[in-house]
Subunit: 408 residues, 2 copies
């Protein structure tokens, strides 16, 4: 039997668009990984009628219901009262929850605001999960084969409570078949061009294929509960589109770099103009990147390009700041300055202004300087300032990876 | 009468957690701004039964239904067929849509893959909105006072179609009262401590107050359809918590800086260690930041701190890389190197490793170097590597803003 999992996200801020719902994507991944993919999600306001209606429809149709949000100490948080009422349970004071709330404030050297006493009230017959990271406990109620969980909406608390308690309960009680998910990351090809390369009949009925257009590139996902069939399918797909694949599953450009550079015992530095620091931010997302990443420059002004990176005034005059020639001198400059094996650079027009017919907004030039050779590239990205900067930052890392793999 | 707006997000990737639902937060903001806040959102899989059930419940209960996703050219995109079937309409070929699809490919110098002919099929009695940014048109159906819109799930296309067509239709047909939303951004105080300062009776019943814990800080939102009451309330709130407020509404630390520095005719540079480029990325999010931001360094290795920034070997030995002393020398070094009015710096332990009892993970030291004075700060952030880096990046910008405002 398929186990139906419903998620209810409660919070005006989600519907008014002031908060992006990262809890849902995180929970979705976790639940799929243990074979309990989310069937349906309902997002509603902190409103009694709405919460009650959502509880009603989900509790009827699902084996697992998980709610998030509305458990805070302030007045607009009404979830707990509505839950207690929906399940016809009285709220009761729990000593263990109260002492954990007190501990949290003591650790920060603060007095416990009186308002937090509410946090220790729990519906009878519910289990309270102690929250190490906040004042709202998680709530758990079981009735027959149905389970209901209520979690706070603060992402770090929701994640902590799921990992500390809920995951184990679900794994023990539902011996379900995990969904096998394989993702291929491609670049330099469009979704429809990819689709033309892949004949439909290589996907058997038990396996699903999904196209996920990302910022600047397409991900291709193959999944299903029959692991063998998923793996066979993915291998066929790979053979057909191999030249466009740069990574798999949780790979990011910077995580691949994180493995490749130490393997080769090489060091890296970067000089950024239009990406303004984002390339280096992505590289240093990896703990331990200091083993190969020495640092670099954000040479936002021409002045800094000349005085610190040693870009020639003449190059800037003749070819402009956005040119492959300038990119190369930036890459070489930062490599020498930091005594690294590789230097990479970006210089471009992120917009919205500053474009011309010859160099439209989105034009970005890249440089890669190695001890033996230098390479430069130029391309034009679509999108707004933010997406152009992001695409360019991933692109230079992917270009370097391509170079490093070629030299294997 | 309240107009009920339902949103249906279709896409396995949303429930499997492989895509974060940014469309919903964007649409939520746009719809609230024209007085049509979203009432409820349902997120479902690309599955015929699920789509049909969601259409059924939303179309019954709402005046406006907006679906997103599943309109692509590939096989897993079934939304259009299910919509046509649900409304009992036949799909028909539309010349104008077909020629816009052809134009998109021609502009990129590519042949049109045959699969894209499907994109020109539209349910009879539906209006097709031409999509300038992709191959899937938007779909619009009106029946009595009810409106149904179907949009592609690619964010840039969804946004384009909403702005080009849907917004005007909704504004013309529903003369509704926009919701007035005022947001206050605070720092250096917790949600419950803020709640203790604010007496409940300053919020009249027509006005809503919401607490939005953000990464590293709390936002406080006051909203309602009575504009005057919202503004009166916000002023009372401001008076009570003034010392903790750093900005309002769409302010970000970097957008405030973007106004303050040019006002004072001052320039800035940055030297980053633990934040790895993120401070400079945030500053250069603003188009035109080159007017005051000269650039800077990511001095990830000690070697680069010494050789390029001129941090003294002795300072590193005596106080360590993560110290206010090192932060100050970094800030001063980058300010002098780039000949700026202000230099700012970060150096800390972003984790997950590298902490000690004296300097636990999350410890970050900050430096601000001006032409007249230098300042240093030290604090400890909670959270994982990503949130520590983000909090530290916003923090140094807020510290500089505080300094600049003091010197007004």
């Amino acid at each position: 039997m398929d186990i139906r999992v419903s998620v209810i996200n409660i919070g005006n801020e989600l519907l008014l668009g002031q908060t992006v719902n990262t809890n849902l994507s995180w929970l979705g991944q976790e639940l799929a990984a243990i074979g309990l993919p989310i069937t349906r999600t309902i997002i509603i306001k902190d409103d009694e009628t709405e919460i009650r209606e959502a509880l009603d429809s989900c509790w009827q149709n699902s084996e697992v219901v998980i709610s998030s949000g509305g458990l805070g100490p302030t007045n607009d948080d009404i979830t707990k009262a509505v839950i207690a009422d929906f399940f016809s349970k009285v709220l009761e004071f729990r000593e263990d929850v109260w002492s954990s709330v007190q501990t949290i404030f003591q650790r920060r050297g603060l007095e416990v605001p009186e308002i937090n006493r509410n946090q220790a009230m729990v519906p009878e017959d519910f289990t309270a999960f102690i929250n190490r990271l906040g004042t709202a406990p998680g709530l758990y109620y079981q009735n027959g084969n149905k389970k209901f969980f209520a979690l706070p909406g603060v992402p770090i608390e929701l994640k902590g409570l799921y990992k500390d308690y809920i995951k184990t309960i679900l794994q023990n009680d539902f011996k379900s078949q995990p969904v096998t998910i394989k993702t291929l990351h491609t670049w330099r090809i469009s979704e429809s061009a990819l689709a033309e390369i892949l004949p439909e009949d290589i996907i058997p009925p038990e396996v699903q294929l999904a196209w996920l257009p990302q910022t600047g590139r397409v991900d291709l996902r193959v999944y299903g509960s029959d692991k063998t069939k998923v793996l066979v399918t993915i291998n066929k797909v790979k053979q057909l589109i191999n030249q466009y694949i740069w990574g798999e599953d949780s790979d990011t450009p910077q995580s691949i770099l994180h493995n490749l550079l130490p393997e080769k015992g090489m060091t890296l530095s970067a000089a950024e103009s239009c990406t303004g620091g984002l390339v280096q931010k992505l590289i240093t997302d990896n703990a331990g990147s200091s083993a190969y990443f020495k640092g670099g420059m954000v040479s936002y002004s021409n002045e800094v390009k000349i005085s610190l990176l040693g870009v020639k005034d003449n190059t800037l005059q003749q070819f402009g700041a956005v040119s492959e020639e300038t990119a190369l001198e930036m890459a070489e400059g930062v490599r020498k300055l930091t005594d690294s094996d590789w230097g990479i650079s970006t210089t471009g027009i992120a917009g919205p202004d500053g474009g011309s017919s010859e160099k439209p907004v989105g034009t970005v030039c890249f440089g890669i300087s190695g001890k033996a050779d230098n390479y430069s590239y130029r391309t034009v990205f679509n999108g707004d300032r933010e997406s152009i900067r992001f695409k360019a930052s991933e692109y230079i890392i992917l270009l370097l990876i391509e170079q490093l793999r070629r030299n294997l």
